[in-house]
């Protein structure tokens, strides 16, 4: 009986996944009848609402790239640093203070992060550099970096905690300093967990919607300047879904094509994580 129930739960999960993929595909097929895959993937102009319409997705990819890249730049090293610090350097009172703070940070709704970006980070950036636009990729990247930070820190902390004390002691006993042991013994030993946390963070940053919509704006464009307004893949989906786009229109269908792209890249992240974790597993044991 229990077994059957659990089986149904598992089945439910599979069905939902298949359902989502099917829905995306069904609408996307309609889209790709009107826009070629090549035009979609390689086109450099995204103008879905107004004539002449153009559905080159690269501007959205560019926006997403900036946000993900910037968030990684901020969130990954800091998160790893916090994990390492908590384990090998922090006195226990500080550890006991930081751990709950991280958990609180992780629990804050993303819309609050978005609001924080708009009202705190952006003005702060504008203070430093007056040419910064109200909506900009850098502010979104910073806030998403902060958002993934608790997760990275907490997962890295777990991975580092799992490194046997005896291996670290072996390092110390050879006349290594604390930082030599941390960087050359502890981190390599915890590598599979650290990589897993990084990829999870990347995929979270990549799929983050609310905060980036608020902070980065909705100007699809290919730019090298992170202080301009951009639009991410996810923000575009929000824009169309919350607008009064008629169902069945091409711009309505385009969000499913964008959705497929998001899904495909997330899948890629997962596969990469799977591969890397397996590759480095032996090192950590």
């Amino acid at each position: 009986m229990v077994k059957k129930l659990l089986f149904i739960c598992a089945l439910f999960c599979v069905i939902v996944t298949l359902g989502i993929v099917f829905l995306l595909l069904e609408e996307a097929v309609g889209f790709f009848q009107q826009v070629s895959i090549k035009e979609f993937l390689l086109g450099t102009n995204w103008a879905p609402m107004f004539e002449p319409r153009s559905f080159g997705v690269l501007p959205l990819v560019c926006g997403t790239f900036w946000v993900t890249f910037g968030a990684a730049l901020i969130g990954l090293p800091t998160g790893l640093g916090i994990g390492l610090f908590l384990n090998d350097f922090a006195p226990s009172w500080l550890r006991n203070l930081v751990k709950p703070v991280l958990e609180i940070l992780a629990g804050i709704p993303t819309v609050v992060y978005g609001y924080f970006a708009l009202t705190v980070i952006t003005p702060w950036l504008q203070n430093l550099l007056p040419s910064v636009e109200v909506f900009n990729a850098a502010s979104a990247a910073i806030v998403v970096g902060l958002m993934v930070l608790p997760m990275v820190a907490s997962l890295c902390d777990d991975a580092i905690k799992a490194v046997p004390r005896s291996v670290k002691e072996a390092g110390y006993a050879l006349g290594a300093t604390k930082s030599e042991v941390a960087t050359q013994v502890t981190i390599p030993s915890a590598l599979s967990g650290i990589i897993a946390s990084f990829i999870l963070a990347l995929s979270r940053a990549f799929g983050e919607t609310m905060a980036v919509t608020l902070a980065a704006g909705s100007t699809p464009k290919i730019t090298l300047n992170p202080f301009e307004s951009v639009q991410t893949l996810t923000a575009y989906i929000v824009q169309v879904s919350t607008g009064d786009t008629p169902q069945g229109s091409i711009e309505y269908k385009s969000i499913f094509a964008v959705g497929i792209l998001l899904l495909a890249v997330s899948l890629l992240f997962n596969m990469l994580a799977f591969y890397l974790v397996k590759k480095y597993r032996t090192v950590g044991e």
Binding site: V167, G171, Q184, S189, T282
Partner: protein, 267 residues
Amino acid sequence: MVKGIENKSNDQRPFEPSPPFAIEAREVNIAYGARRAVLDVTLKVPEHTIVALIGPSGCGKSTLLRSMNRMNDFVNNATVTGEILFRGQNIYESGADPVSIRRQIGMVFQKPNPFPTSIRKNITWGPKINGYQGDYEELVETSLRRAALWDEVAGKLDESGLALSGGQQQRLCIARAIAMDPDVILMDEPCSALDPSSTLKIENLLLELKDRFTIIIVTHNMQQARRVSDYTAFMYQGELIEYGPTDEVFETPRQELTRDYVSGRFG
């Protein structure tokens, strides 16, 4: 080695080995918080000898051993008072550098703990971070030869150290310690996780290493203490009960407690 001539079992004079000493502990007390683990231990370890630390589990052997290269720095709330002299310098005095002390006083642990990397890197890592200038290939070979492991691993230096058997891993850990060319090697029950034939190999190895290093070995195994050591220190409940030439400690102990312990009446 040194043989006692007169074995008066009620002679209370502390045993005085002859200098030079590699390590000299003077009235060392070690506590974990309020819990005292080592009480007033004074112990002189002559150079190029093997000293065995024996005693029942929990009597403070590991604690004393780990204080000799300041590995107890990593245990929260461990406090050491008294002096431990290495080359005449107190390793606990305020200017002492624990990192450089550990370069000269190596350690082999109870459970083999090779780094999760290749055999070669296990050997070279310590010398590398300490700026060794010589030929690394040669260092790897001589260290492994001295640890009696070379013949078994010569063809697979780039394989993981973790792929070796337990006994081989422990010899790799010894090779790793030797590669630093320390003066003293501290060993905490290095054979307790090993089978008898691996144990025998390591015991033979110790006897050869004595020429170059001073070895202090904690052991649970009294046969082992008798086979390898020149001097034996018997500890009980944190105190050093008896210290002397190994033959004397085992055959004509001065203290009743020692006699009871070495004859296997408790432990």
